[in-house]
């Protein structure tokens, strides 16, 4: 298992999935145990991979390469550098927590876990693939499970939301795919292998005008996944309707696939074209931050608040990408991790109290902290992290992005800082309205998270936020060589 950890990250949940097919659907506790095991093992493996990744040598490690479709140059090529090693770790955290908090699902349990595992496998696969074909392949594997999960187990307007989310994401990905296919043929190398393409393209660059529009297709296509303004509207609706675990996975991890694709396939493969597009990206980033931030202020539904807020925070990721410098990109990758953990914690907490109160509307909620001190504390810490308070992982991430952006995009940076203030306003308002004040008598029966197992997912996510926030070098020293790798040509060719 230790010699091919990345394949096992994909195989173990697949194995759990196949076992689930055989378990009778009445036996819910066995189903849950298998599903938990199916995400715990890859989580542990991804921890192992992350901490044994040797950042002093850098580059791609744990490489596995099997030719798959030879005539097209498609290979099953897995490998991690500092960026995707961190992202699979993020998925490990979030998927484990998401399965743990899924105990509230009582109907059609077997189908639920099968679809959830399929979605998680697809996401792992997309992060691990160093082959453009397999990246797209795995990325799309996650689509249909997400559709069904939202449509079957979702809440208000779930059928509409599921359809909208699926159509937006597939449309974006297809656009991106057409761009990547154009790149495949423009290079003339006949391979989808990312590493080979990258070496080849640095030596034999394709004409700049071709590169420019391919770059545009990839950025806009995968920008939809990243909820780039103005393609973000699917996200809040989708997250609000989705069952908690899907909101966590989608907002926390799947969305980052968009940023990951832009970094890998746009910036790293076509660094020269990046310089043409980046001012536009920076402007869109500010629109994300400010526009979505202002929209949050008008929201009352807690899931919509988190949903729009996550769109708003994607603006920092875009801004960091637009800097095209190492500190900015470090900040981006750091923020992907920090935001992923933070937002999935937020959705998990919201799901926890909404299950009991049957409402997520802040105008109706009040005084929850009296009955739920643990959840209330976690929520407050999540809000602090979200507002970029030092001590939580989001702080160093946002600082790095802003520092990176200052030299290139002055006014955008100023507006981005304003976004932090907006975040603080809505997050603290949510705490005040939801958790403080008098507790209505009809909610006297509410219960807090009691057992250690119930508390585990929240503690786990919070611990990740705080540990990384206090000791950012744990992950920063893995990110740094990877960021330099991504940008080495972007910096030299300016």
């Amino acid at each position: 298992m230790m010699s091919y950890p990345l394949s096992y990250i994909l195989l173990l949940p697949t194995l759990a999935l196949s076992v689930l097919f055989a378990v009778p659907s009445q036996n819910t506790s066995a189903i849950r145990r298998i599903a938990i095991l199916g995400v715990l093992l890859p989580f542990l493996l991804s921890l192992g991979v992350f901490f044994t990744y040797n950042h002093s040598t850098g580059g791609f490690q744990f490489i596995e390469n099997i030719p798959w479709v030879v005539p097209f140059g498609i290979s099953y090529h897995l490998g991690v550098d500092g960026i995707n090693a961190l992202l699979i770790l993020l998925l490990g955290f979030v998927s484990f927590a998401a399965v743990l908090i899924s105990h509230h699902i009582k109907e059609r349990v077997k189908e639920y876990y099968i679809l959830l595992l399929l979605m998680i496998i697809g996401t792992y696969g997309a992060f691990l693939s160093l082959d453009i074909f397999f990246f797209y392949f795995f990325h799309e594997v996650a689509t249909i499970p997400a559709f069904l999960l939202i449509a079957i187990w979702g809440s208000d307007r779930h059928e509409y939301a599921a359809m909208k989310l699926t159509l937006y994401l597939t449309a974006g990905a297809t656009l991106g795919l057409i761009g990547l296919l154009a790149l495949y043929f423009a290079s003339g190398l006949q391979t989808f292998d990312f590493v080979q393409l990258q070496y080849y393209l640095t030596v034999h660059p394709i004409p700049l005008n071709v590169r420019n529009w391919i770059f545009g297709l990839v950025v806009i296509g995968f920008g939809v996944t990243l909820t780039m303004w103005p393609f973000y509207t699917w996200a809040p609706v989708g997250y609000a309707a989705a069952p908690t675990a899907v909101s966590m996975l989608h907002a926390g991890v799947l969305k980052k696939l968009g940023a990951y694709a832009i970094i890998r396939f746009a910036i790293q493969l076509m660094p020269q074209a990046a310089h043409t597009w980046m001012p536009l990206i920076a402007t869109l980033a500010v629109l994300n931050i400010i526009y979505c931030g202002l929209v949050v202020l008008a929201q009352r539904d807690m899931k919509y608040i988190l949903g729009y807020s996550s769109c708003s925070h994607m603006g920092y990721i875009l801004l960091g990408i637009a800097c095209l410098n190492v500190i900015g990109l470090n900040g981006v990758v750091f923020l992907m991790f920090a935001h992923g953990i933070m937002v999935s914690l937020g959705f998990a907490l919201t799901g926890f109290f909404a299950d009991q109160t049957n409402t997520r509307n802040l105008d109706e909620l009040s005084g929850l902290a009296k009955r739920m001190p643990f959840i209330g504390t976690c929520f407050a810490m999540m809000a602090l992290a979200s507002s970029g308070v030092p001590g939580f992982a989001n702080f160093p991430a946002e600082i790095m992005v802003l520092l990176g952006a200052w030299d290139h995009y002055r006014w955008q940076t100023v507006l981005a800082v304003l976004g932090v203030v907006i975040t603080a306003i809505y997050m603290f308002k949510a705490i005040r309205l939801g958790f403080h004040g008098p507790l209505p008598s009809r909610w006297n029966q509410l219960t807090d998270a009691q057992t250690a197992l119930q508390k585990l997912p929240y503690i786990l996510l919070l611990a990740a936020l705080i540990i990384v926030g206090c000791f950012p070098t744990i992950i920063l020293n893995k990110i740094e060589p990877a960021s330099k790798g991504v940008l080495q040509y972007a910096l030299t060719t300016k």
């Binding site: 392949f137 599921a162 296919l181 495949y184």
Partner: protein, 482 residues
């Protein structure tokens, strides 16, 4: 003086004909009221034997009957394809007629006749033989479409199909007379030799357009697509399945022989036309499918959409495009037939093809729901299923040919198609069932569904060997010229 005939090349067709004759004789001697389905059972035995025999023919190439009949990698590939289609269609027929009072023995015989027609289409190297094979296939399809004599929909469908089919046959012969007039031959080889040494002439072009009417009619491409939804809806479901996969593939063989072979050197002239036809066809099919309430009609429109995707391959005019067509059809076989098996089983239990009656199918039969979901998702082209890699190769070929606009049109169509396929999936998986009565699935149908689902998933994940098959079929094609 008789030319030497290489019977080995034509042995598969001879065997099929022999089986048909035997079945006719057996049918005469069977008691009229026989409960046992002897013809069905014998058909399966015959098919199994033929499939084994087909494997032994893999390296067979050559021409016989004075060059009218050829055997090449493409013919071999598609004959196997048709045999596989027939496995499904025979199984569907057995199941479909169980619930009906109609006699089914003649239906089996007509299916065998259609198989003969399709195999000859795959091997024709002469326009006259091609015409006869098409007619053999189409006439048996006319009869089968109108087979349910007491069902007015079936009769109406048969009538429509007959009238339009006869019209396009007329076009074919008319067009052929122009081609013959210009080239003085009906033999593919001679025509190709003429085409390669001459510039495009309006006379041949006119003839070619008329001949294409038959191809367009068979594959359901704009502007010959109008019959598709009505006939698909009205025909007995096994016939719909055969029309949507077998007959469509037969149309594509003709298209391949004509435009990747004989007339390939004029590729520059028809590439644009195919690109426009492809875009129009996929838009017509997919937009039409969005508002359908009947599942057979929906699949009818969707099959027009798929013809549009496949025409992208024709527009590229490249070996990659040809391989993509072959691969796509292979995935489409399993995908579409899985859906039709589900439709038949559902119809037997529910006596309805309306999509709203599919509500909550998952509670009534998880197997049927799963098979239908896999099929719909694969039709929509989402990994890890067969339909995805088919669309991927087609898109690759299109982008390679520089037809980026067509690839983007296809992308938009894929999104539209995901919408209506997922609406059906939503009915099946999300909505509450109207009745809770489980739908029984017999053991043989479980096997057939299992085969279809395995095909969808295996082709979708282990694309390599199947792509090799498709490429080999393309490269070894008789008169292949690009």
């Amino acid at each position: 003086m008789f030319p030497v005939i290489n019977w080995n090349l034509i042995s598969l067709e001879v065997l099929i004909t022999a089986i048909l004759v035997i079945l006719v004789v057996v049918d005469i001697f069977l008691p009229r009221e026989s409960k046992e389905d002897w013809i069905g059972a014998l058909s399966f035995v015959g098919l199994a034997g033929l499939i084994v025999f087909w494997f032994t023919q893999s390296n067979l190439t050559g021409a016989t009957f004075g060059g009218m009949f050829i055997m090449d990698s493409l013919a071999w590939f598609f004959k196997g394809f048709f045999l596989l289609v027939m496995v499904f269609v025979f199984a569907m027929t057995q199941e479909f007629f169980k619930a009906l009072p109609t006699r089914k023995n003649e239906f089996y015989l007509l299916l065998w006749l259609a198989l003969i027609g399709m195999c000859f289409v795959a091997s024709s190297a002469d326009f006259l033989l091609l015409f006869l094979s098409i007619e053999t296939l189409t006439i048996s399809l006319y009869v089968m479409t109108a087979y349910l004599k007491s069902d007015s929909h079936s009769l109406e469908a048969g009538m429509k199909y007959l009238i339009l089919g006869a019209l396009t046959s007329g076009f074919f012969l008319f067009g052929l007379s122009f081609i013959y007039g210009a080239t003085h031959s009906t033999r593919f080889e001679a025509i190709q030799a003429f085409v390669q040494t001459h510039a495009m002439s309006p006379m041949i072009l006119f003839g070619l357009v008329l001949v294409f009417a038959t191809v367009g009619f068979k594959i359901g491409s704009v502007p010959f697509q109008l019959w598709v939804p009505d006939v698909y809806q009205g025909a007995p479901t096994p016939v719909t399945a055969l029309l949507s996969v077998g007959s469509k593939a037969a149309g594509f063989i003709i298209l391949i022989r004509l435009f990747f072979g004989i007339f390939a050197s004029w590729h520059i002239h028809w590439s644009v036309i195919f690109a426009a036809l492809s875009a129009a066809t996929m838009c017509y099919g997919n937009l039409g499918a969005m508002f359908q309430k009947n599942i057979k009609r929906l699949l009818g429109y969707s099959s027009i959409g798929h013809a549009g995707y496949l025409l992208m391959g024709a527009a590229t005019g490249s070996a990659l495009g040809l391989s993509a067509i072959n691969f796509y059809l292979l995935g489409y076989l399993f995908t579409n037939l899985a859906a039709f098996v589900v439709i038949i089983l559902f119809f037997i239990a529910q006596k309805s093809d309306e999509i709203e009656d599919y509500a909550g199918l998952v509670k009534r039969s998880p197997l049927l729901a799963c098979a239908l979901l896999l099929s719909l998702v694969s039709l929509a082209g989402i990994p890890p299923l067969a339909g995805f890699f088919g669309k991927f190769t087609l898109l690759m070929a299109t982008v390679k040919a520089g037809l980026i606009w067509l690839a983007i049109v296809a992308g938009v169509n894929i999104i539209v198609s995901i919408y209506y396929y997922l609406l059906v999936a939503k009915r099946v998986y999300v909505d509450a069932p109207r009745t809770n009565s489980p739908i029984p699935v017999s053991l043989s149908m479980r096997w057939i569904l299992g085969l279809a689902m395995a095909g969808i998933v295996v082709i979708g994940i282990f694309q390599g060997p199947f792509l090799d098959m498709a490429m080999t079929a393309a490269k070894g094609m008789y008169l292949f010229h690009l």
